[in-house]
Every structure is written in C-alpha cells, then in structure tokens.
Symmetry: C2
Subunit: 363 residues, 2 copies
C-alpha cells in the first residue's frame, strides 16, 4: 500500500464593496492579471441595466469578450443552462486562461460558477453580484451549483471566485421584495455572529435609509467580511459554517413544500428565523425579550414571520430530508444569545411542532 | 478590500495493487470507515465478470448498495450519463456519507468520479480499476471528466478517490488489444521517468509472461507509485505532470483526426511516442540507438509505431488546438535521454512534419 497525498495551494478571493465597480470592470480585471479573453454571463434583466457600462469599460481596457445572456429566474440554474455555457465557451475556444465574469444575482453566480468549475477542470472566475442577497451573502464562500428536479443545489462544487466586486449602485433597480429578501440574510448574520448589524439595520429603518446605497454599503461589507472569516475557518460546512444555516432548516422546508414559488429565499428564511428564535427560547436559553425584538425587527424590515396556515405533510417530509439534519430527529442551529449560535441535536420534533403552530396562531 | 483565504486539508488516496481485491471489497470499504450506503457504478461487460464477487463481499460486510450499469464504451462518458447517475442517487437518498464505488476502466472511472465530484458538492469515492490502462495510469491523479461533442474530457474536475484498489486478476478478461493499449502507458512511464520499467517489459516479453497477473503486478505498482509521486508535486498540470504527456500531443491529434474510432488511446499514444522519440533525437539530443530500441520495444509489445498514410488537415488542425500547445508553434514533451523528459517549445512545425513523414515512409 502506498499513499498519494495532494496538497493544494491556498485559494485567495479578493472582496471589494464599492460604488461604481461595474463601470470599472476593465481595469479591475486587468489588475488581476487575467484575460485577455473574458466570457461574461448575465441574465436579460441585469444585462439590460448593467452590461453596457461593464462592456464599455472592458473595451477601453482592450479585453476581448463573449457574453451569454440567460433568462432571469431560478429555472436557468440547470444542467441544461450549464451545457449551453459549455457549448458557447467551446465554440469560442475558451481554455484555462479564459476568465469567466458573472454579472447578476444568485442564479447567475451559481450557474456561471458551476460551469467555470467544471469546464476544462476549472476556469478562473469573478463575480459582480447585483442583488443584496448575493452581495451580502451568496457570492462569498465558493459554493456554486445547479438544481435538479430532486433538489435545489444538488449538483455543485466549491469553486471560489478570484474576486467578488460588489457595487451597491447595482441594487438601485432591485424590486423592494428582492431587496427585503436580501435584508433577511443581513439580519441573519447579525443574529448569529454580529449583533451590531441588527443595531445598524434598526437605525437605517428609523432614518428611512434602508435603500440608500451609501448607507447600506457598510452593512454589505460587514456581512461579506464576516462570512469570509467563517468560511476561511470551515469551507466545507463541517463546523462553524453550519451556523449560517440559522433559519434555513425551516426555511428550506417551506420553500420545498411550497414549490419555491410562494416565498423568496429570504422570505422563507425570515419565517425560519422566527421559528428558530422561538425554538432558541425553548431549547437554547435565549432571553424571550431579545427573541421578540429580533422577530419584530424582521417584520419591520417587511419580511414575513408568520404562517398563514399549518404546514402540511410536504413541509414535514422536506424537513426530514434536509441534509443538515444528520442522525438526530432534528439538527437545528439555535441562538443561546443574540450574536451567538450553536448546532443543537433535538431528539424529537415536539418542540418544533409547537413553535410552528405558534407562528400560525399568532398570525 | 479584504481577502478570503481558503486552506484545504491535504487529500489522501490509498493505492493498493494486489490480487483478489475486488472479492474483498466489503472489508476494504469498511476499513475506510465509509458507508454503510454505497453506490456502485460499472458497465455491463465488467459488471458481468466482476460485480458478483464485489457484491457478495459487500453483502457479507453488511453494506447497503445500489448499482448503476452503463453501456460499455466512450459514449457513456457524457453529461447525459452523469445526469442518469445524479437521478438514481437522488432517488436513493444519497448524501455526503454515501460512498461511490467505480468498478471498471477509464470510462467508468472518469464518469463515476465526475458525478461524485459534483453531486452534493462532492461525494467520497473509490475505484477498482479493471483495465491495465486504468490500473497503471488513469485511476491515479484525480482527473475525472465527461466528453463534450467539442472535445474529450472538456467537462471535468480534480476529485481524488479515497482509494484505488487495483486487482490484476480483473485483467484476465481484457482483450489483447485493450491490454496492449495499457502497455503503451506503462512503457511511457518507463521512457519519461523509470527506465527500469522498460527493462522489465522487455524481460516479460522474452519470458512470454506479459499477460501473467503475478508478473505484471510489480509493473502496475511501479507505474501507479511513480504517477502518484509526480501528481503529488503537481496536481494541476502546471509543471512536472505535463511530462506524462509524452507521446500525447501527436496521439491526441491522431485520435481526434480519426474520430476516436480507428485507434485505441494506447495505440494513438504509441504512434505519438514513436514521433516523440524521433523528435527527441532531432531536437533534444536523444541518442538515436536508444530511440530506436524504445521504438522497437513498442512494436514488439504489439503497438503501432507507423502511419499507413500521411495525416491530413484534420490531424494538423487538431494539433493546433491541443491545449498543451501554449503560445509556441508547438509545445511538446521530448526526452533528452530515456528516463528523462522535458517540455520543449518549438518555434515551427518543420521538424515534426519531417518526423511524421518518416513514420509513413518507413512503414
């Protein structure tokens, strides 16, 4: 018997949150030492608003580029779309020196990143995230994926972008609903790790500046940096990164039970956080006043924290399938105090059933 | 600006070359600490011969397993086959604790490894390679892939198996042609790195023991270990691993020009090595007698070292597309002395054209 040991050099992702980054794409890419060949991936909504300024900048920097424009929405996050990117890139003669540039939200980032991870065993890529959810959360951490019929993000990889360039000006065209969905993940980071974020959210609410790019920028930066700190300690979800699933056990089950139509991801997570906060009071010793305040903040952000009716069998089935569950009846991230989180293994679903009912009754 | 740095723990692959390993699959898997859920991937030819003994052993070890049987041949190495595996695994409730077990040659290993690399962002996997090519070469090094219409292995990843269990008894049912194809890669390892392998091949030839499992075992082990040593220094083909492409520049172009039908991979590489040996005499100072001896050894192994006719435009186009080419007119691995190799950047194709013609004329 012999053993092959593979050591990989550490990966580095540059994180920048600044206004106007999209319009400086050309020099930013040149500064990475990448190119001269670039393949842009975007969707038609984002592309209409932001591709022109990106392209002008690339032209001025002398970059040669191709561009693939996807239909907006979750349905583009498929193996079929990945195959479409492969096909285009192969026709364009892409090789390992080609830089993939994702311009868009979570769907575009996940798909472009997955195709980049698997084309020629890995193309370098960067992302200009254009939703609050992607800037504050999804673009950091290297998770890329496409959906299968049997499950969201079931096919994927860890493939860290060389850089995440978050331009808060791109948030101007986001719908209020999509924006609020991003606020849910911002609030989550406050609850599990950085309570100052919750205080900042409350202040921006009071000042009516939640959608002010200059005002939200420091919060995006705080979330991205905190996530980077956590991911650096646990890329593969074996330890501390799991704490970022606060609100996601119930959230994922709600999304799955409702067929991913009724709730945005952030909305489902908001309801999930309300459940997790109440569970935390009952099972983790969280002070009930803090829990109520945090729940109230979510609702003031315009996020749902109640259920219209008792979730049915599909919800409980989805919960049982959740891959974060492990061998206990329920494995769930709870918060002993705001700003802290821990994985709890619960022997039964009894408490969760009560909590879920409380979210319906108090609605 | 901040920077996210990802450090990954070193990967470990256990390499064992021993007779009877397939029939001990159950305890071998149990000893890895894997399971209890296993998904076997094989093809109908290999499966017929070797799956029963593997399955019995797994049953005795109390493992639960599913099995997917592919059609034999390169056409199974597709995104469509990968999607079929995803579908089956999802239905079976596979998660990150499920171990994928590949039983077969290069096609099965590449496909199962690719599907394992991408399902749930990476399932652990092991391989029982059943061809000489896979045991001596392809199963070591973590390269997994599927083919696109536009190119072989265009979609892939680096995903090292936890273990490579090479059982030389599985070579008994291999056709002579497939066996010789594997000998080409064995000879290649001798030429670029371990000349003792060439001496051993010559001895087994004299003794008529080339297909004797006990006799070939030490050669498989030597090749696998040498490859592991090289891959440990350069997983991603940036340096020393490129030397393993000796004979492959011309070999790949021949395969592509002939539509992957006329030559097996090993046969194409054998012709490519003949070309590379002659190039080495002209461009790298290789002693002509050593080159002739090495070329003669290939032909005594039953491998082609001549071209029936001058290759046409498709060959030269494919050569120009070869991704190992870089910016020189031709980038090619040559051997200054048997057992050594180096990447040469050649400013023109002139010498190669002469060498290719010499392989036709002297045929």
């Amino acid at each position: 018997m012999s053993v092959l040991t593979i050591r990989r050099p550490a990966g580095r992702t540059i994180l920048r949150v600044e206004r106007g980054l999209i319009g400086r794409a050309g020099p930013l890419i040149a500064a990475l030492g990448a190119g001269p060949r670039v393949e842009i991936v975007t969707d038609s909504t984002v592309g209409r608003h932001y591709a022109p300024r990106m392209i002008s900048s690339m032209r001025r920097a002398g970059l040669r580029f191709g561009m693939t424009v996807l239909a907006p929405g979750e349905r583009s996050k498929s193996l079929k779309s990945a195959a479409r990117l492969y096909d285009r890139w192969a026709r364009a003669g892409a090789d390992r020196t080609t830089l993939v540039v994702a311009l868009g939200g979570g769907v575009v980032g996940d798909l472009a990143g997955f195709a980049a991870a698997t084309y020629a065993r890995g193309l370098p890529w960067i992302i200009f995230p254009t939703t609050l959810l992607a800037q504050a959360d999804a673009s950091v951490g290297g998770k890329v994926a496409v959906n299968l019929e049997q499950g969201k993000n079931l096919i994927g990889a860890y493939h860290h972008p060389r850089a995440v360039f978050s331009d808060p000006e791109a948030l101007a065209t986001l719908s209020d609903r999509a924006y609020r969905s991003g606020l849910a993940e911002v609030a989550k980071m406050g609850m599990v790790s950085r309570p100052a974020i919750l205080a900042s959210l409350a202040r921006l609410l009071r000042e009516g500046r939640l959608r002010d790019a200059a005002a939200i920028l420091p919060l995006i930066r705080a979330c991205a940096r905190e996530k980077a700190r956590i991911v650096a300690r646990d890329e593969r979800d074996r330890g501390v990164r799991r704490l970022l699933n606060f609100g996601h056990t119930v959230g994922h089950a709600l999304e799955a039970a409702e067929g991913y139509g009724r709730y945005t991801h952030g909305e489902a997570v908001a309801v999930g956080m309300a459940a997790a906060l109440r569970m935390s009071v009952l099972e983790a010793g969280l002070d009930p006043v803090s829990a109520a305040e945090a729940e109230f903040l979510l609702s003031r952000l315009g996020l749902p924290t109640r259920l219209r009716k008792s979730p049915g069998k599909r919800f409980w089935d989805a919960l049982a399938r959740d891959k974060k569950r492990g061998r206990a009846a329920l494995r769930m991230v709870l918060s002993p105090a705001i700003g802290e989180a821990k994985v709890f293994e619960l022997p039964s679903l009894t408490t969760l059933r009560r909590v879920i009912e409380s979210l319906v009754r108090s609605g």
